[in-house]
């Protein structure tokens, strides 16, 4: 690792002040992505600002049909929560047990890794991403490869999810890293169907053609006739864009079948 200055602020204001004063600062949440990145010297920040000592940023609470997850809530805590079983199931399949004991939802969605799991839930479960000063609709939050609507120095304080009537997350994991080659969250709420896809494109998105087909006929068979445009999908050593397009359909069918 390159040398950096480590800071451990105890308030959000202190954290943002440190970031504003840093030459090239970065926030540290759980560190499950950032620390390996630093070790590989893929990043060389001047200052690492640890959010781990700021109180009030953890916990999963259910209030009037909305589940609020604090930005520093560990994946393991979400996995053990019961308000949205599909969200807990998604969290239980991130990385391994040790990653789930350290990694946080805020860190995950601030990074916007195209293969992370949580982004599928953010776009499919009517999420709202909260920062100290504003709220961002889940559908507007991811803007590109490792890009989000967050401003420089802005910190995710919590993420709200709407409790759906039913939902299921299906994922084709990379066998080594457990990142999603493709992951699909299908959620049904009244007559509405949301299909959130991660792993396939530059960032998470909703597959609207699949949603329209499933809104008419909520059955695995309804997916068959819908073509998934893979022209902009990721292609790498793990999967071609065409294969990822195929997986979107397969995983959507599996999720619909699980919901029943």
């Amino acid at each position: 690792m390159y040398q950096f200055n480590y800071h451990r602020p105890s308030t959000l204001d202190e954290a943002t002040s440190l970031m504003a004063g840093a030459e090239d600062g970065v926030y540290l949440s759980g560190g499950m992505t950032l620390i390996p990145t630093l070790k590989q010297r893929l990043a060389s920040p001047s200052d690492v600002i640890d959010l781990g000592a700021i109180p009030g940023l953890t916990g999963v609470t259910l209030n009037d049909g909305t589940v609020s997850v604090g930005g520093m809530t560990r994946h393991g805590e979400v996995a053990a929560s019961d308000a949205i079983p599909a969200l807990a199931d998604l969290a239980s399949r991130i990385g391994d047990a040790h990653v789930r004991n350290r990694g946080t939802i805020g860190g995950s969605i601030a990074n916007s890794d195209p293969a992370a799991d949580y982004p599928a839930a953010v776009v499919a479960l009517g999420a709202t991403v909260h920062t100290a000063n504003r709220s961002i609709a889940g559908g507007d939050y991811f803007t590109g490869l490792f890009e989000t609507a967050l401003h420089d120095g802005e910190i995710v304080t919590s993420v709200d999810f709407c409790v759906p009537d039913a939902a299921a997350y299906e994922k084709f994991p990379n066998p080594a890293s457990r990142y999603a080659v493709v992951g699909v969250m299908v959620a049904r709420c009244g007559d509405c169907v949301c299909v959130g896809v991660t792993g396939a494109g530059a960032c998470a998105f909703r597959a609207t053609a699949l949603e329209e087909a499933l809104a008419t006929d909520f059955s695995p068979g309804a997916v068959d006739g819908v073509g998934v445009d893979h022209s902009e999908f990721n292609s790498d050593i793990h999967a071609s864009a065409e294969f990822r397009g195929h997986l979107v359909g397969v995983l959507t069918k599996r999720a619909v079948a699980r919901i029943g």
């Binding site: 040398q3 480590y6 451990r8 499950m32 690492v48 640890d50 040790h98 350290r102 080594a176």
Partner: protein, 153 residues
Amino acid sequence: MEITLTVNGAARTVDVADNALLVDVLRESLGLTGTHVGCDTSQCGACVVHMNGDAVKSCTVLAGQADGADVTTIEGIGDPDALHPMQEAFRDNHALQCGFCTPGMIMSAIDLVQKGGGSLDETAVRDGLEGNLCRCTGYHNIVKAVLAAQSSM
């Protein structure tokens, strides 16, 4: 900078570099070399310790993040005359060959059993140890040992 943490029940104050890792503090500052560095890329689990009651990979925790934490290493769970039940189970089931992964395996397995409520089956143990690699391919006996320890812990 200076950090203070509790390691195996004793308060320790250590002067560390800003970019120091918890595993380096344990091994080099405190001489607790039972915690191993295998891959140094958060994959192999040889460096697993308990931090505030959770199994974590100490190669992927900055020393500063452990300031104020309660850390337990392999040295803190038993001694040669009074092994931890998980250590006994590993010995009884021949759950190690070269032994390099064993400290991390045992620390992960203890956390797994403590949180498993006595209901772990073979699949749950294999899933729970996903973050620990054994290059001697000794998983079969490791799983047997963890299931045995579930009864004795």
